[in-house]
Amino acid sequence: MFTQQLINGLMLGASYALVAIGYTLIFGVLRLLHFAHGEVFMLGAFIGLHIVLVFTGVNIYVAIVGAMIGTGIIGVLIAVIAVRPVSNKYPLAPLISTIGVTIFLQNTAIYIFGGTQVAFPSTIDPNLYHIGGVTISSVQIFILVMAVALMIALWLLVEKSKTGRAIRAVAESHETAALLGVNVNYVVLLTFLIASCLAGAAGVLDGVKNSAISPFMGLEVAVKALVCMLLGGLGNIVGAMVAGVLLGMIEILSAAYIGTSVRDLMTFVILILILLYRPTGLFGTRVVGD
């Protein structure tokens, strides 16, 4: 029973982690709380759904890739339209601009797709595996494998590649990076692209897991992922991954052993405790000079 709950928590945590990574990447590079990131996640789910619905019999991997491309474009558009032209002179202005994007995207989605839950068709043959008293379905394995693969790919990209080095350089200091020949604007756009792709994939995975999506799912996940970002430490990618999984586990376990109404409460109690006692997160913030 306990192991079963742990696996459920892991599933939930995986999607939190994927969204939280996006937040933390963008925060690291721009010092910006990208409020609309949850909406990108939601749009990813809808793009995935429409790929599955329009091309019947299509592979779920195609839907994920399609959603990633779609949300990648959306993310870059957000950066170009709503983030870059806003001056940094007023510290709140970029944040409020992304709140505007949130309102815009959420209501556009309600306008286009309707304000109700939509069923996400099952595309994977549901098989149940019993491993030592624990039941795990093929859907769960699929989600877990995909999430881990994406996270490893991201980690390799950021830590090992030349592009990743440029992203980390920009995160330290825009000026220094520019002096060293890094194209800062390009790196910022790239960061938005990567973060949005991850959120899009997470959206489809969430649709597969819950077999229902709605335009309101974005805000909910956004708030949870924000907590993960803080828990892991601002700008700390590995921290965000671990914190995502941790939060997912805490939620599922508190729902299972204390009561379902406590579930959301736990998240925010954790949030407030972190803010008060450990604002740098569990694993240290990577943001310099804030």
Binding site: V86, P91, I96, G100, I103, T108, F268, I272, L276, P279
Partner: protein, 305 residues
Amino acid sequence: MIFTGINLILAFSFYVPFKTGQVSLGQAGFMGIGAYASGIITVKLGLPFPLGLVFGGVVSGIIGVIVGFPALRIKGIYLLLLTLGFAQIMQVIALTWSYTGASDGFQGIPYQEHTLYYVYAIIVILLLFFHRLERSSLGRAMIAIHADEEAAEVMGVDVVRIKLLAFGLGAFIAGLAGCLFAHYTTYVDSLTFNILLGVEVLMFVVVGGGTTYLGPVLGTCFLTLLPEFLCTLRDWMEYIPIEWTDSYPWDVSYEFMYGFLDFENEKRLIVYGMILIAMMIVRPQGLLTRDTIHRIARLFGLGKQ
């Protein structure tokens, strides 16, 4: 009218802590506290409405000060998240507390037919208060804290006391708004005071301009009346001669615009979102700033040079 007024009171409740540089997304939570606290007074204890109003405001204000203490230590996005978390916790409590109906919502709150007078009386009092505040030492201290906290402290401003006061006062005003709201709609539940309400309140102030007390007034009026204006625009569209919209690109775009400019909620919010983004690009300091007011005043031959 009444909702515009309540929105304005809420905008003021955001404006007070904002004056000291504290950005709160939790005003919806304080509004909820005010609504529930006053509801308990009038429904469960059967006491008259004015008492409920005062009680709702005071309870909310006290909780505001309690929340304000931890908020002193943190700022920027941390504070934003703290207040967001606070509003969420309030929502969960409202959802689970069976004394006030839990998930069924708080029902049967007595209808107050004089809400309009109460709302506008409070607005007038607040406007007078802010007008006085602008020139008082307290108001100046708040502005100093907003500009530079350390410098203000060095100059002998009691930063802790003033920030707490501002936060508590903001919560108190939000509590009043909540009480008025509850006794006008006669029903509140946990979803009434959600995150988006907090965001909308922030929008009122930011669009109007957060440096002067007239900013929230303008912002609230502008954003609340905007849907009405869009509706009027739609009526005007009917005067466009039919020949103009006969041929291909025009007939489609006419249909689209006509369908778009109506009163429905999500379309209103789509336009809000676009306005917010455009505002931040073009005029991040808000529509009204102190400079603009002086300039307008000078235009009419008022005010000092």
